[in-house]
Structures are given as C-alpha cells and as structure tokens.
Subunit: 285 residues, 2 copies
Amino acid sequence: MTDRLSEEGLTAEVLARLDATSDPRLREIMQALVRHLHAFAREIRLTDDEWLAGIRFLTETGHKCDEVRQEFILLSDTLGLSSLVDLINHSDVESMATEPTILGPFYVPESPWRENGDSIVEYDDGGQPTIVRGVVHGEDGAAIAGAVIDVWHNAATGFYAVQQPDEQPATNLRGRFRTDADGRYEFRTVRPVPYPIPNDGPVGHLLRETGRHEWRAAHIHLKVSADGFRPLTTHVFDRQSDYLDSDTVFGVKDSLIADFAPGPDGVLVCEYDFVLHGDEQGEIA
Amino acid sequence: MTDRLSEEGLTAEVLARLDATSDPRLREIMQALVRHLHAFAREIRLTDDEWLAGIRFLTETGHKCDEVRQEFILLSDTLGLSSLVDLINHSDVESMATEPTILGPFYVPESPWRENGDSIVEYDDGGQPTIVRGVVHGEDGAAIAGAVIDVWHNAATGFYAVQQPDEQPATNLRGRFRTDADGRYEFRTVRPVPYPIPNDGPVGHLLRETGRHEWRAAHIHLKVSADGFRPLTTHVFDRQSDYLDSDTVFGVKDSLIADFAPGPDGVLVCEYDFVLHGDEQGEIA
C-alpha cells in the first residue's frame, strides 16, 4: 500500500500539529524537540522494552525530586547539558575574558561583605589554610576598581555550609569582596576538596552503569561583576585535585585550573586574575 | 585563547566519557541521546530560563505519576514518540499486512473466550448496538482459521471497564474470539466513542499551550494473532468520529478507518478484514 504511514511521515504529522502553537518561541522549541527526539529513536531503533525502561527511569527521577533534592538537574549536569547551556548563554569563544562555568546548586545570595585580606572561615574544619588573591581587569588589561567578588566553596568535610545547617555557620566559607583601586582582591580560607554528587538515586545508578564516578574536582565558586562588564560565574580549580579529567558534571576548563602553591608559614597561595568582558557601549549585560 | 572549550568540544568530551560503558547497547543509546540532546540545545540556543522551565516541567510530570497515572507515557504519546516506537518495531512499509497502532494503557490480558456472534456487552450503557465482523487472512489472501481476535473498547460513557471498577463489570466490552474454518470472526457490541486523555497534569497544560486538544478519535482495540504470523496490535476507527484528523496520540492511520454502516433492525455493521504478515519460514515473531 502506498499510503502506509512512514516513520518520517509520522514525524511530519506531529510537527504540523504543533503549528497551532500561538507563542512562536514555544513553537520553535517544541518542533525542534520533536525532530531531535524522533531522530534519536529512529537512529537507534528504540525497542518497546527500551522505551519502557526510559519511561521508568524518568518516573523514578521525578519521584526522587523534593524540596531539597533535584534529580533532573543532576541528570542535566551529568549529561553535560547544564554546562552546554552555560556555554550557549555565557561564553564567547572569540573573547579573551575568563571562561564561565556552571553555577551549581549551592549558591546562596547575600553573603556577608568582608574586607580584602579577611578570612571567610567561621568554623574550624581542619582544612589547609589558603590565601586566594589576584586582579580583576578588562580585556584591554586595565584594572577594574570596585569589582565585586562573591565567593563560596566547601569545607574540608566535603560539605557546603548550606548542606550542614546544624554544624556550619550559615555564612561559613562565603563572602563578598570589592577590588581595591588597583583591581586587587584577597581573602583567606581553607583548601576546597573534591566531593560526590548525590549517588543514591537513578542518576547515580546511571553513572555506575556507564562506568563513571560521582565526584567533582576541588574548586572555589566565584561570581565576579563590575559596572559596564558582563557578569561572570565561574570556578577556580585546584591543580592538585583528583577528578580534573573526569569531573562528573563537566565543569572543568583548562584555563580555570590554578596552582595552590606553598607560601610562608605553611599557608597555600592561589593567585588567579579574572578578565571581564566589556560589553559594547559599556552597557551592563 | 585558542584552547577555550567550544560547544562542540564539550559534546565530544561527554561522548568520550561514555566510552567506558560496558554494555555496548547502553553505550550506543546514551551516546546517541547526548548527541541529539546537545544538538537540540545548540540549535534553539536554549536559555537559562528555558532550561529551568524544562527541569520544572519534567519534575511536575514525575510527581504526577503514581500507581494509576503515568504522565510520562502521556507525554510520549502526545509527542508522537509512542507511535514512532510502534512503527519502528511493528510496521513495515513494504508489507501488505494490516497496519499496527499503539497498545494504549487500557489493555487487560485474559479477556473471556466467547463464541463467534456473541456479545461483549455485559452492562447497558445506552450505546448504539453494533456488529463487528470480517475475515482474517494472510498476505496471499488465504483465510486463516483459528486466528485469535482479542478485543477491548470503551463504553458510551467514554470509559473502559478497567477505569470504572465500581460501575462496569471487569470484562465488559472485552472478549477473545477464534476465527472459523473460513477465517471469519463476528461479535456484537456498542459503538465506541471519543474520549479525552487525562488533562489535569503538565501534559494537559502543554497541549493547551500548543493549541491542541486532549481527545482521541473513537476506536475499537484489537490484537490479532495466529501461528506462523506476526502478531498484530491495532485499532479500527469509526469513520464518523470526530478527531480522526487530530487524534491527540497520533494513533490514526487511514487504512484503519472503517464504516459503521446502518444494518437491519437499527444495528450498525462494521466490516473489517485483518491481513497478517507471514514471517519467513513460518516462524512466530
């Protein structure tokens, strides 16, 4: 019979049905989603049982989500989608600016303002004392005074303050700083450590089935912003950390790896300069 | 900087990470999934807010699923994925056999055996009396004696027996028949009616946002099987039904639409012949 429905014919029928979507952006997204979803199924010749396994995986992932656990974000992270969305929206391969990376789930706004040189350690966890410092400048090399550095990272236990409300002070290992007249920032802290993403759900199971681990390489999170420049959200990674080549959420970029070098009195020193992208006309992005 | 991570470079990194998957089929599926998922995000330039809307949609879809509600299957159905998987696994555009369509959520195995000519109506719902009959034959036209026809459909209220355990007998509008020596089958029933898929969850919301309705065209479900032939799962649609051109789960195929024509004594007659695909060597698929 010449009028039998073909696989491509079915896809065309679904796309045509979506033409009635009134919001043009939603129409574009849904039609692209259907094209790519159907192309995936056709390419791998998805079987009935595999389809059902996918339905069950998504259902378990949804059931694992609650007020404090977001298993779909973990799934997006471990499939590299979160990092890709970050690249799409916040990067520019032609730029000389510092590369961005993902925000992650542990950012808390309104960290305390602190003075350059101050410590962000409010709780002794036995971590290795560390000084982090550097300069914030534009792509032309000119130092930026008054830039804001908003920093957060985990304790030597592996946990962020927000994960341990009964043990760590809420503002432990968090702080906001302003660069001085020469664009310099400096703070004291402890060395960050690698940590696992939650691995007791479907995403952890999928990682094991695909021969992967659940660890993130050790890093400090920073948001850097200044009037007239594009805001930056990034990490600085410890060059001595495990998992730099296999960070399970694909957050590592070579340019974000820094030395935590031995300094005076057994204190480590991490020097890292941030380069902000100056938007045309000096507009704030 | 020439070593900045590009979008394509990130995708390549994720694909390489999946090389460690020990099961070759899982590796193939996951790598194809990542390629198509990333291609989707790159093509539409998925924004941070759209990504988060997607995470929330999937989470709500998961939370809507319980023992009796499967919102991810509804999502698959309304995106045409279920029909595509059916085509991939159970159709053959070169074949002369009756086209398959989706199983749907209301199939219950072990329907009662009934004699040709018997009624499957066990509960008076005021539906229009109908006779359904025809012949089961192979692609060569030879009648198949002893073929099994397993039928189920909804009542005039719109509901299947399995949806109304307190109102309809469990085996209402269900039955199994065997074709006679001439390959003929016949049963009495009531006319099926259109019905909406559940529309009070995220999938219903998405249908409305994309200008679609939640209705299925009126149909009778049938599984047809016989030794030496590929089992068939399909529907027969009522040519007078609304929604034939917009069945919300993409189950309609032109060749599956039949007349429910006025017969003697005000009883409708639907004649439909089924053609089974004979597997090579007469093997059972």
